[in-house]
Amino acid sequence: MISLAGRDILQSWGKFVFTGIGLGLLIGVTLVMAGVYRGMVDDGKALLDNSGADLWVVQQDTLGPYAESSSVADDMYRTLLAMPGVAQAANVTYLTMQVGSADRDVRAMVVGIVPGESWGAPGWPPYLVAGRQITRGHYEAVVDLATGFHLGEKLTIRRSHYTVVGLTRRMVSSSGDPMVFVPLKDAQDAQFLKDNDAIWQARRRTGNNPAFNRPDAPGLIGAVNTSQTSSTSVNAVLVRLAPGAFPQDVADSIQRWKRLTVHTRAQMEAILVGKLIATSSKQIGMFLVILAVVSAAIVAFIIYTLTMDKIREIAVLKLIGTRNRTIAAMIMQQALALGVIGFAVGKITATYAAPYFPKYVLLMPQDSVAGLFAVLVICALASVIAIRVALKVDPAEAIGG
């Protein structure tokens, strides 16, 4: 038996191909949307992986450095190092801000890390693609390639200038902003230090306060001013566990004795995926539903129109004894063929377009398989209306009168 659907497609291939391209672009957008969601999740996991930590020690009752603001004393890490199961502990700060160079500025997450002697401490970029790690205590930076900065370039963060000494890759925040690593002290200043005018105003207020400016204690005013301008907080302490230590046990111990909140890797992942990007994922989910409905409507309309164009031929086919299932199969096969053409175009479009998106787009093979399955189901369902119309055609319509 010849393939009626195949012959019809070959006969009017232009109509099918151009319709398939239109549908494919829509499917491509759908795949990219799914890829954006996957990219957000992957960014979050990369952020956790790249921190190199097993535990995140943060301010009590907060969700950690990525989801909420957190402030921990910068000497806390020393006491954590003394606790059982803790192999390494390092301070870290995170601040998303504009980082400028001579001719432009980039939205980036500035990460303060302990430089110098603590090679490979938690929070450090785990690998570089060019240059070296930060070795000095001030004014050096390692940047992600996505910032577009290059080795030797001068950056401005708040009031200080930095030289790019190393380049890394795929180091991004949960929202996809590339990271800029700077020495911890500089990062603390960038985050907590006030500007000169604010310091001047604070000193004036302190000087006018008789409680601090006491004639019988001439050193007090100086000590208060110094404490106001020094930065002694960090956002979190990253902890790496000793071999054999159980994360939850160590976390419970720290929480009990240090009155801090500690998140394990699994908890941080749940916070990132379940809370930080939950709204975005719902938004993307809504878009996916709308795109699926629009795709179904387009396929249904096209197949319905193609069927109505053949209504007389269908009447003849029925009159000369063609089974209903043969006619239904012809229409459904055409709808599925349209879906396959559309999916192929969409997949190619998404694959080639993904790198040009500002945010990371991760196209997973299982999403493509699920997408193809969904497209075929949508096309099959969309052809039902046309099939119903075709099966209702009276073979008598082929006979005049």
């Binding site: 006969q11 007389r312 008598a396 082929a398």
Partner: protein
């Protein structure tokens, strides 16, 4: 010979019921022998199309009897279970417009019917090729319907009607879109094919040019058919039996 061609006795068809009922056929008798081509004429609304639809097993009559070959197919009810198979295997159709399937080439348009009946593709195409040769359109066998002239399309449609060797062919205004020369050619072909394949052919027509070619004519008016001798019975026109 393929039995007795087609015979109908007292065929009735009523549309609607009660006060609005319309009797489209009021007891039509007709008998067309194998190898014979008869004309079915009548004014609009006389019941021609209804009769054709009943004969084609497209609609069910209200009463009467229909015998195809030696088999009673309707006797106050259908006696055949699968009307679709009946239409496919035992009734050929030729329409006013050829209604060829536009996305199949000439050979496959003709071969489609035997394929639908389960004949292997090669055998179906061989059967189609033989008929196309008999109808002198074999040279266009690979062409698409849109590439054919009106006469060629109608010849392909006739080949499609004949391909399953049906005992009866119902032709609905087969010459309507054709000029005189081509119309007469189609009538000649129908007569040749009727004789060659011993098929009973009923031609519904308004075409004054071809009416004189029939040996017998059924004139239907107000749902009642009257048999008349056609001019073809004595004039030596293509419709005359040899």
């Amino acid at each position: 010979m393929t039995g007795n061609g087609i015979r109908i006795e007292g065929l009735r068809k009523r549309y609607g019921s009660g006060d609005t009922a319309v009797d489209a056929l009021k007891g039509v008798d007709m008998h067309v022998l194998p190898g014979e081509v008869v004309g079915l004429i009548g004014p609009s609304g006389s019941g021609k199309s209804t009769l054709l639809k009943c004969l084609g097993a497209v609609i069910a009559p209200t009463g009467g009897r229909m015998i195809l070959g030696d088999e009673v197919i309707y006797d106050e009810g259908w006696k055949v279970r699968d009307l679709r198979a009946l239409r496919r295997d035992r009734i050929g159709f030729v329409f006013q417009a050829p209604y060829l399937i536009p996305f199949l080439d000439v050979t496959d348009n003709v071969a489609l019917l035997p394929m639908l009946a389960g004949v292997p593709n090669g055998d179906a195409r061989a059967r189609a090729t033989e008929l196309l040769a008999a109808l002198d359109v074999q040279h266009r066998s690979q062409a698409m319907p849109a590439q054919l002239s009106g006469g060629e399309q109608q010849r392909v449609a006739i080949a499609r009607g004949l391909v399953n060797r049906p005992p009866v062919i119902l032709a609905d205004e087969p010459t309507a879109p054709l000029d005189s020369q081509r119309a007469m050619a189609v009538v000649r072909i129908l007569n040749d094919m009727a004789r060659k394949y011993e098929t009973a052919i009923i031609v519904v027509t308004h075409d004054e040019k071809i009416i004189p070619t029939f040996k017998r004519i059924y004139h239907i008016r107000d749902g009642i058919a009257h048999e008349e001798s056609g001019a073809g019975a004595t004039s030596g026109q293509p419709g005359a039996s040899s």
